[in-house]
């Protein structure tokens, strides 16, 4: 075998080694440690499956997963419904010279930390907040609405952040779409609505699904927003995980709950990938 051949094979490995090392050090090893921890007894270390069985037998733990899935599904659907028209307007209606500014405005929410954004929403939605003052001030309602410390508040906080994430992914997809598809559809007699439903929407589905998956992952694992805006009136999975750590330091149970959460994300990814065959794209 020639040395040129060896070099040809060695170079790609050399290039990916830092990334592999990083993944090994900061994902694979901690994940294995967490997996092993989840199989042990708190304050003991012996092997057990009880941390997992607790999740399936304790109704309030199970309810945390149900709550998480419900909130995540609502946030994802609402974000998609809001983001698509926004992305379409950005891609199709805003002149190209203004698009850069519009995109910069779209990413502004990412410049603000979760904590600041969530507390800002709390001030907006509170009993004495902007919305209730406006409604009571204009005599539309007599008693302030309960907006803060509810699931509605949690969803609002999440949507504010994720709608822009989805907008960016859908916008990128729309910009990649060749105008010739629409021209061909028009030549064949399709109106704007039919063209959108049968040509544009199917071709931008990968962008929607990638954005929706990112929204799903970030939303289901977030602790801050539901903690601040939800008023702890219903527990989500990240809060349940944190509860195990705070005083009791029950890392095995926290690890088991985190792995269950990760399994749900993996299932979501596999479903997403299989449906859209993005693994072959």
């Amino acid at each position: 075998m020639s040395s040129a051949g060896n070099n040809g094979r060695a170079l790609p490995w050399a290039l990916v080694t830092p990334a592999l090392g990083w993944t090994l050090l900061f994902f694979v090893l901690p994940f294995i440690a967490m997996g092993l921890s989840s199989l042990t007894v708190h304050e003991g270390g012996s092997f057990t499956l009880s941390n997992y069985s607790q999740f399936f037998t304790n109704p309030s733990y199970w309810q945390a997963m149900v709550n998480s899935l419900q909130v995540t599904a609502i946030v994802t659907v609402v974000s998609v419904l809001l983001a698509y028209p926004f992305a379409w307007i950005l891609a199709e209606q805003v002149p190209e010279r203004w698009q850069r500014l519009a995109l910069m405005l779209a990413v502004l929410p990412f410049w603000t930390s979760y904590v600041v954004r969530s507390y800002s929403w709390l001030l907006v939605l509170a009993q004495n907040g902007v919305i209730n003052r406006a409604l009571t001030g204009s005599a539309l309602i007599t008693e302030p609405l309960q907006l803060a410390n509810t699931r509605f508040a949690t969803v609002t906080g999440f949507v504010h952040f994720f709608v822009m994430l989805l907008t960016l992914t859908i916008f990128a997809n729309l910009k990649q779409l060749s105008p010739s598809y629409r021209k061909a559809a028009a030549d064949l007699g399709a109106g704007p609505v039919r063209t959108f439903l049968h040509v544009v929407l199917p071709l931008t589905l990968p962008g929607i699904m990638v954005g929706a998956f990112l929204t799903f992952v970030l939303c289901i694992g977030d602790y801050i927003t539901p903690q601040i805006l939800g008023g702890n009136n219903e527990l989500l999975m990240p809060q349940l995980v944190m509860m195990q750590i705070g005083r009791r330091g029950d890392f095995p149970l926290a690890s088991a709950l985190a792995i269950i959460l990760m399994a749900v994300v993996t299932v979501a990814y596999l479903a997403c990938a299989r449906w859209l065959k993005i693994e072959r794209a």
Partner: protein, 363 residues
């Protein structure tokens, strides 16, 4: 299971090695910061990170105090477990949890003759927890009450003299609950006429019923900042589990906020300072503890920007206004009616936390 048998378990060995590898990596990455370091490393709660508290000590002793904040004993002990021996010099910990640190072999006995024990409120020395095997491992530095915090312009202060008001229809939707299960379970125990020190598994159904009644009246269950914000912004008028640590810090901006020790009593919270056995700087660690326990240090700690609380030293150099806000002169009466945090064993603790989880999920 004993430490020995745990160490012989192959799963434990592998787990331990992986944890060590992860911890070593984290420490390697953090090494720059620690190496430049500083002379005293303290694991603390947020009230100790106030520059107004630390700077006088740093200047007087020409040291830099490196602080790392944590919330909850479990999280704090986990940080210690993943550190190298000697990384930390002092730790702030719930007084009732001092024995947990002693059992793990973490703490160094403190020299009682070099600490102002005689100046402390006797009830907050908490010798049952801070003294283990005849040796003092922790000294109470700050205390207060998990009780009823309220806005006296929105509620009838007379109602706040009874825990029964918390579950009354009169205040439905006007209540927030502080999100820490032990003190609020303690308050539920007081409400049903139980002593916090005597709680057993048999009391859990009655405690759960009381907690669910509180939850039915509550608008939110929030951690320190969220519950304080809710009371300050008028989102709620009453905070279950909130005492002077909520109302005292906000007294200047909103003098309508106050707290009561109801007729059934209140739950005494108490935080201690402990020194690590493996500290490489025990002299400075002791100096730090002495500073915190001194009249000047106590006044600064009591009025820390993060939260206010009663200093355990009766000679704390507080101004008259500060003493008034903290209701310093009323302490003997308050202490007489206060009971300690519930101190459940591991099994009961787990059951209490599960009960708390159920309460949070209840509609």
């Amino acid at each position: 299971m004993s430490m020995k048998s745990a160490s012989m378990n192959p799963l434990s060995i592998l787990k331990s090695r992986l944890r060590t590898a992860c911890a070593a990596t984290a420490l390697l990455l953090a090494a720059g910061g620690i190496a430049q370091a500083a002379d005293l490393n303290a694991l603390i709660w947020c009230d100790h990170s106030d520059p107004a508290l630390l700077q006088p000590f740093e200047q007087a002793n020409n040291v830099k105090v490196n602080v790392k904040e944590f919330e909850g004993t479990g999280a704090g002990l986990a940080i210690v477990e993943q550190s190298q021996p000697g990384d930390w010099d002092v730790m702030v910990i719930d007084s009732i949890d001092v024995p947990r640190g002693v059992e793990k072999g973490l703490f160094e006995p403190l020299p009682e003759d070099k600490l102002p024990l005689a100046d402390m409120f006797p009830q907050v020395k908490m010798d049952g927890s801070t003294v283990v095997g005849g040796k003092r491992y922790g000294i109470t530095e700050k205390f207060g009450y998990n009780t009823i915090g309220y806005n006296k312009t929105k509620v009838d202060p007379a109602d706040m003299q009874s825990l029964a008001s918390l579950t009354s229809d009169k205040y439905k939707g006007k209540v927030a609950i502080y999100d820490y299960y032990l003190p609020v379970i303690g308050m539920a125990a007081l409400a049903i006429g139980k002593k916090t020190a005597d709680l057993t598994e048999a009391d859990l159904p009655a405690l759960k019923a009381e907690l669910l009644k509180m939850k039915a009246n509550a608008k939110l269950v929030g951690e320190v900042t969220a519950s304080q914000t809710a009371l300050a912004t008028g989102e709620v008028d009453i905070l279950v589990g909130g005492g002077e640590w909520v109302t005292a810090g906000l007294a200047k901006e909103n003098p309508a906020l106050d707290f009561s020790i109801p007729k059934e009593g209140a739950v005494l919270w108490s935080q201690s300072l402990a020194m690590f056995k493996d500290s490489k700087n025990k002299d400075m660690a002791l100096k730090f503890i002495q500073y915190i326990m001194s009249p000047e240090g106590q006044a600064r700690l009591a009025t820390s920007s993060c939260y206010w609380g009663m200093p355990s030293n009766t000679k704390a150099a507080l101004t008259d206004d500060q003493k008034k806000v903290l209701r310093f002169d009323e302490q003997p009466e308050f202490l007489a009616r206060a009971q300690a945090y519930p101190a459940p064993n591991a099994d009961l603790d787990k059951k209490m936390q599960d009960m708390w989880t159920e309460m949070l999920q209840a509609k």
